[in-house]
Symmetry: C2
Subunit: 197 residues, 2 copies
Amino acid sequence: MNAVKPRREIYAETTRRALLETGRLYFLERGYAAVSAEELVRAAGLTRGALYHHFDGKQGLFEAVFEEVQNEGLHRVGRAMAALPGSPEGQVVAGMEAYLDVCAEPAYREIVLLQGPVALGRERWLELHHTMRGVLLHGVTTLIDGGHLREQPAETAAAALYGALTELSLTITEAPDPATARAGATAVLRGFLASLA
Amino acid sequence: MNAVKPRREIYAETTRRALLETGRLYFLERGYAAVSAEELVRAAGLTRGALYHHFDGKQGLFEAVFEEVQNEGLHRVGRAMAALPGSPEGQVVAGMEAYLDVCAEPAYREIVLLQGPVALGRERWLELHHTMRGVLLHGVTTLIDGGHLREQPAETAAAALYGALTELSLTITEAPDPATARAGATAVLRGFLASLA
DNA sequence: GCATCTGACATACACCATGTATGTGATATC
DNA sequence: GATATCACATACATGGTGTATGTCAGATGC
């Protein structure tokens, strides 16, 4: 038989997960600033001691929740792109559309897009969000290198696309009719991408 | 002679301005969260009583500073657009380029774009920032109505443009060579706008 | 020109929230 | 079985905010 995991480790992992899930729930429903650390840990049946033991305070817990939520979105975008091997343009379009769907999820929208910059400060937020932006930058770079887009600084093109993408995702969920708003958004994005060729 | 302004009113206006300018300075240099209300008013030679009398606490003062800074940018964009009467397309392009310059100013960049959402929360920030976004929306609407852009929901197009614009402005100031970055950004933006026609 | 009132602040206090230092009991180790 | 260590809980110090109240100069009424 393989080594048994010591009980203490199991217990610790359990409380860690309890903190993560309670944090995710409370941050999502009430907002980072509105929920105090004390309230949060009591909801998990713990004390602030546990919070400071496993994470670096309330912000540390938020960062952990942030990374979890963002990674879920990252995987979803990755799967959408991986479904079209051999077509770099199709991959980027599919990735952008998948990203719109990811942004439509309440968890991603609230935790990563809206509360992230507020809770972490823009600087730290950029650090943690770098992985997601990197996907788009990588895609654009590939398109330029492959000759599908004209020669241009990839950072600039990716930044503009990212800005349009994010702003569009927010307006979609705020729109009275999200479905048609999403359709309009993808049309705008495809046109934008084409204008870079 | 016309009525003389009572002395008390003059005094009050003076302290109000002292608070505004100290706030603008401190928020810009140190950041909203990092500067306490107490520290701020002491730097202005006052106490928190004065702050709460004239504004609604630290956040109220920030909102006032925010509106001042944003209005300066608004006027600058307005002047740039007014310089090209009769050419709606030229006006929008000129407005976008002027906006890039406005975003390059440290005060606007820090107070409105970076600290604004953090200090006010996105919801309140959107309310106060609505005037600036409205300029772009109005421009896009005019272009669509005038047939310069194809029939499409103006909100969607304006949102995408705004997102690209803002994101580009941030990357420009962070770029090693802002001048060429700005040139690249305007090229991307012109192409984007053309893709909406 | 004196009394009164009002506006512009200052002072004092109560209340959270956070971070940290320390305590404690269960569990792993030897 | 004694000891060390890990996973928390408890207690306290600190700092920041909002509010209630006090105070004094300056406007107002007679």
